[in-house]
Assembly symmetry: C2
Homo-oligomer: 284 residues x 2
Amino acid sequence: MRERELITKITALLHISNEDAFIFPYNNILFSLTVDTLVAKTDVPKGMTPFQIGWKTVVMNLSDLAAMGSTPKYFLLSLTLPREYPVLDITKGAKSACTRYHCKYCGGDLNEGELSASGFALGTSKTVMLRSGANPHDKVGITGDIGRVYSGLRNLETATQPMKEKIFTPRPRIAEGLMLKANSCIDISDGLSSELHHIATASNVQIDIYSDKIPIHEDVTKKAHSLGENPITWALKSGEEYELLFTSPYINPKIGTEIGEVKKGKGVFLDGEPMPLLGWEHYT
Amino acid sequence: MRERELITKITALLHISNEDAFIFPYNNILFSLTVDTLVAKTDVPKGMTPFQIGWKTVVMNLSDLAAMGSTPKYFLLSLTLPREYPVLDITKGAKSACTRYHCKYCGGDLNEGELSASGFALGTSKTVMLRSGANPHDKVGITGDIGRVYSGLRNLETATQPMKEKIFTPRPRIAEGLMLKANSCIDISDGLSSELHHIATASNVQIDIYSDKIPIHEDVTKKAHSLGENPITWALKSGEEYELLFTSPYINPKIGTEIGEVKKGKGVFLDGEPMPLLGWEHYT
């Protein structure tokens, strides 16, 4: 069974919706909870330091909170590590990311085994932004640029500095998430194509994307062309970008780039043609 | 470096205390957060089903909340699993335990790798019970009985039904934790000896334990004697018991058994002799 099918079955079993974080109200406050695990085999590129592993684990979780428009408050880290692994360096990296994003790193757990790092974050929200909130007539926006992660990982030896930065020290879009006030939002962890399909399905809408509007770094375009490949395809499947993809009647250019629009209907279209479902998936 | 040294360094780096859960106030409510990871190599005895793995992961976390006197509210589960592992059975086990203890299982994460399950639980508290709150003149109490886990794991083939129950479907002492109103409390995950030392050190007190008062199941006593070993030693080092160890001026016999007392001084004593530090530790 593939990951998407499994997640569909699990969410049905639990009667929950598949969102970046779980939101619950308590005494008139909205809290958001999320968990995300970094696994050596799939999430740790060659050359990533223990400090960067700690940093990235925090970012993976805070990015989920950013997609819900939440302010991060508390973070916990459960580490499973082989013997003699430099655990304090991971902890320092996690602490550094927490400090940078004003979140308290308040504890965790330590176990022996194959490297993995499970982060848990709690945030507070003033509004609720879901994957399922996209409305026809919304525009589609995206923060930053995409493609640098896939491009860099295609061959780390020829990766440029901007590619390495996004792979080894990613940034969660906390400030943007708080400013957005979007109808729907998701963070790009599996890839733009995959996340667009998530929003279209969850919101029961059609999404039209225009390839010439997708913000792609010039280094990515150059590298794709040098290999005779299409930078748009790279941008669509590049995962762990931690940019926010959102829909709103108006896209503030200070927050993101408008790349398309939401319509009545179903499916995701790129320049008028059905967009293939690309991007990272476990168990494929 | 051994686990205790590592945890000391990590808690110093983060300026946090080493408690079962992290407690924070928000709008006059006390919230408690905890994380605990089940790892295949160390936490999954031979014969444990995927359903039981899910159940146990929930119990490990709710037991931490119980030790803080908290009411469990929300649970998240991050699973890392090999291909073709019956993930839905783990999820069903976790859901069953959450339902049993009135906690909402509200989401999680799925990854590919060596089996591990990271649980994260959030609870609310009306009081604060810490490891560091033991006072001279407190009595020492313990819920239930201890030793069945170690005794069963010594040889699963000769384990009796009461031993198997505690190993495969442990129970968190939520109700007891709420009734306790103790000065200090900890749950027994590493072993009675280890947890007694934690309380004595954190509270800067001496603890005297009387071996004839320790509640040990008759099956454990029988098995230890049949192997020519001391059941008290088994009880002191038996981990993953999920009983509560607490100190209070009065031990209500409906909640637990009185096994000793707190005094001014340092260290842990068993029948007047220094108690060895036994119990589970990673990286030893």
